[in-house]
Amino acid sequence: MQYMHKYASPKFFYTLAGKLTPWMAALTAVLLVAGLYLGLFVAPVDFQQGESYRIMFIHVPAAWMSMFIYVCMAGAGAIALVWNVKLFEMFAGNCAPVGASFTFLALVTGSLWGKPMWGAWWAWDARLTSELILFFLYIGYMALEASIDDPRRAARASAILALVGVVNIPVIHFSVEWWNTLHQPASVGKVGTPSIHPSMLAPLLLMSLGFTFYFFTVALMRMRNEILERERHTTWVAQLLESKS
């Protein structure tokens, strides 16, 4: 616990995050450029869908991120509730806009793919509906957090909302197995027979890794801003501002 409080002190974290972000941003750029190049130029066409399948290099990682970020957000919220760590409160709060963006991206790219392939922009099947609910959960989380003035109370209230919404995550994941859905089952992560060709899997994984680093980069940058704002009355922030001006 002592370690947690040392590393979780806003001042220490502000400096650490400031050192980490340029490297993480560079790594994000490298991964995304490599992923997009392999995905859009190197990977072969699909035997059924032709070129149109390439939208999955954005769609699938975005959908994974939408769920991963939600779990991060709820997990950080739970840690903040139990141990009262400010840093985790801030992390949870800063997950939400990034997660909502990825959810929106997944919904839009899926819809653009669905029209030519399925023949419909949208279908009320279990996978699509539960992903839309996830988007509403993010929006609700942000609305609740913004509606309470005291940041600590806001973080507690929204953490509870996030924890209740965790129910939706396994529903999204297993929806394609539990029910008849229009959405296809998962291609990646099955044990045994791989249902995606390695030449297509490589860019997909690169893009996912790139999106993950993008998320952490943005989250750290947002947290640095929030730390400065929340701690603006402390001496270390005053000293920092003085040394910069």
Partner: protein, 152 residues
């Protein structure tokens, strides 16, 4: 530390309890949450389909069953779940992925003579992604360039 453990316990029980409750609810609504029925479910009366009610049928387009009218907009095909078969009539534009032997979900009305008049046809994609050469190697040469449906 004691209050912290208490809070942790409350959160863990809360999340687990909610998840279990949620899964029970979803399980209870299972039959209402399916996107489509299979031909077997409909033809053997496992689901009650009131006359004239719009439903969705899902299955595979039977190989060699697609017949297009000369003007190209009227299509007849058979949806099968490899147990029962249901003939479908449809008039309209088919999605890109509509192929014989591939998955399809079609919305429409069941007729008294156990045929199906569709108002919408959606292609259901499977989870397989591979280059044409790999598909050809697997299937032994059924690939047609451009991904066009073979005429029966």
């Amino acid at each position: 530390m004691k209050t912290r453990h208490k809070r942790l316990a409350i959160i863990v029980t809360g999340v687990v309890g909610l998840t279990v409750a949620g899964l029970f609810v979803l399980n209870a609504f299972r039959s209402n949450l399916v996107f489509f029925y299979s031909p077997t479910e409909v033809l053997e009366g496992k689901v009650s389909v009131p006359a004239g009610k719009t439903i969705r049928i899902g299955g595979l387009v039977e190989k060699g069953s697609v017949q297009r009218s000369p003007d190209g907009l009227k299509v007849d095909f058979v949806v099968t779940d490899l147990n029962k078969k249901l003939p479908v009539h449809y008039e309209g534009i088919l999605p890109d992925l509509f192929r014989e032997g591939q998955g399809v979900v079609t919305q429409g009305r069941l007729q008294p003579d156990n045929t199906f008049v569709a108002s919408e046809v959606l292609a259901k994609h499977d989870e397989k992604y591979m280059p044409p050469e790999a598909a050809q190697a697997l299937k032994g040469g059924t690939f047609t360039p451009g991904g066009e449906t073979k005429k029966p």
